[in-house]
Each structure stands twice: as C-alpha cells, then as structure tokens.
Assembly symmetry: C2
Amino acid sequence: MFTNHEIDRDAFIRGNQPRYVQLANTLINEITDGKYQIGDLLPTEQDMCVQFGVSRFTVREALKKLVQSGLVTRQPGVGSKVISTQMTTAYSQNIMDISDFYRYATDTSLVIQSSEIITITAEQADMLEGSAGETWLFLIGNRFSEKSELPISYTEIWINPAFRAIKGIMGKRSEAIHSEIEKQFGETVVKVEQTITATSLTKKQANALQVKSGSPSLCIARKYRNRKGELIELSISHHPETRFSYNSVFVKNNIPA
Amino acid sequence: MFTNHEIDRDAFIRGNQPRYVQLANTLINEITDGKYQIGDLLPTEQDMCVQFGVSRFTVREALKKLVQSGLVTRQPGVGSKVISTQMTTAYSQNIMDISDFYRYATDTSLVIQSSEIITITAEQADMLEGSAGETWLFLIGNRFSEKSELPISYTEIWINPAFRAIKGIMGKRSEAIHSEIEKQFGETVVKVEQTITATSLTKKQANALQVKSGSPSLCIARKYRNRKGELIELSISHHPETRFSYNSVFVKNNIPA
DNA sequence: GAGTGGTCTAGACCACGAA
DNA sequence: TCGTGGTCTAGACCACTCG
C-alpha cells in the first residue's frame, strides 16, 4: 500500500495517469503478451485488490476498459474471461471514443492542397447550419497512410467563419485540423457526429484518388461541435473501395433487456 | 431514503432495473421533455444525491449514461452541461452498444428468401474461419423499413454448422437471426465485429435491390461470436446509396492525453 | 475561497453460477 | 454452500473553474 505522497510521485513519473488507467494498461499488456490464453479467467477482483494494493473500485474501473477494448467479458458467478488477445487495430480505422479521432490523425497524414474563403450559398448554408452569405474557410486535401503512395481519401473541410484566420494549415500535416483549431483559438471539441454513406466518385474526386470516375467510395462526414453545440468544422472524406475499411467491435457486458 | 425492503418492492414494480438506470431514464426524460435547454447546467451531483436520496456513486453512474447518449458533457469546476435535447435516432442506424443490434432488428424486418446447406470452399473457409468441406447454412434475404417498399439491403448470412438445424427462419422476420440462435440453442453472443466498406453491386445484388448493376453500395459485414470466440454467424449486407446511412455520435467526457 | 467533477477507499448486500 | 461480479453507501482528497 502506498501513502498519498508516494502515489503522487509515482503518478508524476508515469505521466500523472489515474491508477485505474495504469492498471488497465498493465493488464492489457499481460493479455497481449500471452500471459493469458483465450478462454482463461483473469484473477478475481478481490485477488487484484490484494495483488496491486488498490481498492475494488479501481480494479473495476480498469476492468471496464478491458471490456470496452473487447479483450474480456465478465459474468457474475464465473469471472473475467479473456475472449481476445490482441487489440483490434490495423491500417483500417477503429473508433470507439472521441479521443480516437486524435489518434487516427497521427497514424496517417493529411496533405492540404488548396485553401480559400468561400461565400456560402443557401444550399451550403443548410449543410453548414449557417446562413447564406457567411464566409467559411474551405480546404481540399488528401490523406495518406505510411504504407502506400496512393491516397486513402479525398477530403473537403469547411471551417466556421470564427476560425477562418487559422494559420499554418497548408501542406503536409500529422495533426488533425480540429485539434489545430483547439490549439490556436482555445476552443474545445466536445461532440462529433459521424455519418457514413456510399457514393459514386465525381471526376474531380476520382482524379485526385487515381481511380475511375463513377467508381464507388465510402463517404464519411463528420461534424465537430463545441460546448454550445455550434458547428466548428465539417469534414467530408471519400475513400475509394479496397483502400479503406471502417471497423468496430461491440462487446456484451450484461444481458440486454 | 428507502429501506432495503422498499427498494426491492419498488424495483419489482419497475422491472427490477438498477437505481442508476432508473435515475438515468428520469433525467433523459426531463431533458428531452424540455425541462433543460441546450447550454443549461444540470443540478450538481451533491444536489441530486439529496433530491433522489441516493449516493454519489449512483448519481455518477446515471450521469455516465447521459454522457454516452450525447446529451451532456461534464467538466470539473463547471458542472454537467446539456449539449443536446434529443436522442439521436432516425430511420438511419445508430449503434453504440451491442444491445443496439437487437433494437435495430425490431425497427426493420428481414425477409429470408432462400436457405440452403452449402459445403464450403477453401476461400469461403478462410472467410468463415473454418475448414473446406464443412457444411454451413446459407441464407439470402432483403431487409425492409416500414417507410418504403424498396428494400434497404440485400443480405447474405452464413450460419455455423453447429446451428444449421435452426428452425422457422424462412419468410418475414422481425427478430434478428443471431437472437433466434441464442433462443433455440442456448448460445450467447458476446462480441460483434463489424467492418464497413464500399463496393460495386453485382448483377444479382442489384436486381434484388432494383438498382443498376455496378452502382455503389455500403457493405456491412458482421461477425457474431460466442464466449469462446467461435464464429456463430457471419452476415454481409449491401445497402444501395441514398437508402441507408450509418450514424454515430462521439462525446468527450474528459480531456484526451 | 468556495464549489465542481475526477479519483479512490473500505466497507456492505445481492443474484447468480458452479461444485 | 461458496465465491463471483453487480450494485450501492458514506466517507475522503485532489485539480480545476470562477467570482
């Protein structure tokens, strides 16, 4: 058992993460490193409390993260069973949480090729939840993964007039545009709404992606909102078939009603 | 404050749901009914503890559900702020949790049009995580929403040999196939892996959907797994453009590292 | 400085599954 | 019957926001 002072020093060294996050990472590493096989039971909550010198609350918060990650299921009267020994990630995308939007940007890079201020039409105003005549910043770019020379997406980005003075966004970026807005203007993205559809590529889009005009694409539109619910940024990405897939894992933690 | 006996009687009447679920539903109803506007702060945790006669733990579990639903954000030193006053659902799909897979099936209906036992090839075995020569049940059907006569998807379903004796699956169904397997065989789905891609429709698929051959579609493949990680069912749905979209909401609950 | 939500402890009772 | 995870209470200290 640690005293408070020792916990604080420890946390400082490790980057000041909560105990349950540290414990979750420890357990994830043990599972992915092969200490447990699929079907094995983890130690009980009581055992972990003793082993790691923390309360049951801390252990349970950590185990919640394992369930969310799809590594473990839990059942009263049985225990915590390992159902997967690897985190599902790949060159394909896997978003379960808003913080994953930040991670995604670091695995790929976005190259902005054009930037202009546009006075929006009535139709665009509808899409952007604004009024015709407003002047939004309009960016066009391509996203690349490290593993291929062909772009994985053609992306159009609309930025709210309040942030159109944003600087240094041309060329190759390893960070997301919305996180740049947060930095430069002190805004905070609290909500992202995402819609996925299938579309036919226009000539312009197809050219940028080096595929045939009219071929199918996965279209992902994301609305980034601040605390007041205002639309900060709208991004629309078109991914040609075979170059991109969108993956998710859903795990049952208790019986549905 | 309730005695234990009163809590039990109460729970029985309300369907035996945990207190924090009941509290979450109460708060969701208050928000969607207009008691709070966007930007308003909910009462503090302390206030709710007094108002509802529960502990802070119970209040916090309830508020977690509101954050997951995208109705509220929480910030230390500030409070719990309303950022949306309606649950995001529509004719389009919105899956955040494994239990949503059950709800989706009740909003739409699946009409199974063919059913046969197939001896799988090496290529199919790869996809189904089995061995060539195994005999899987193969279903073909269309999914309809109540609002339109045109199907919203063309669906192919592969069912593990262990469950190929499943009964009563032909024709119109308002329940999901995987939940029928659970019922008839006592299995439990604990994990669903989902991959979304864009594809061109084959002639057969296009005919079933009454669109042009080669037109784009949103392809959603789902692998349903039991506790042991075994593949129980694989479903592959093709949705023509304009008839379907896949929506998600992500909400920030704390600052990412 | 007062109040907020985030984290954490040390207890407790329960329904359920397995032996 | 015994141990599991699910729920719940009553405390506590902290970093942070805001007046």
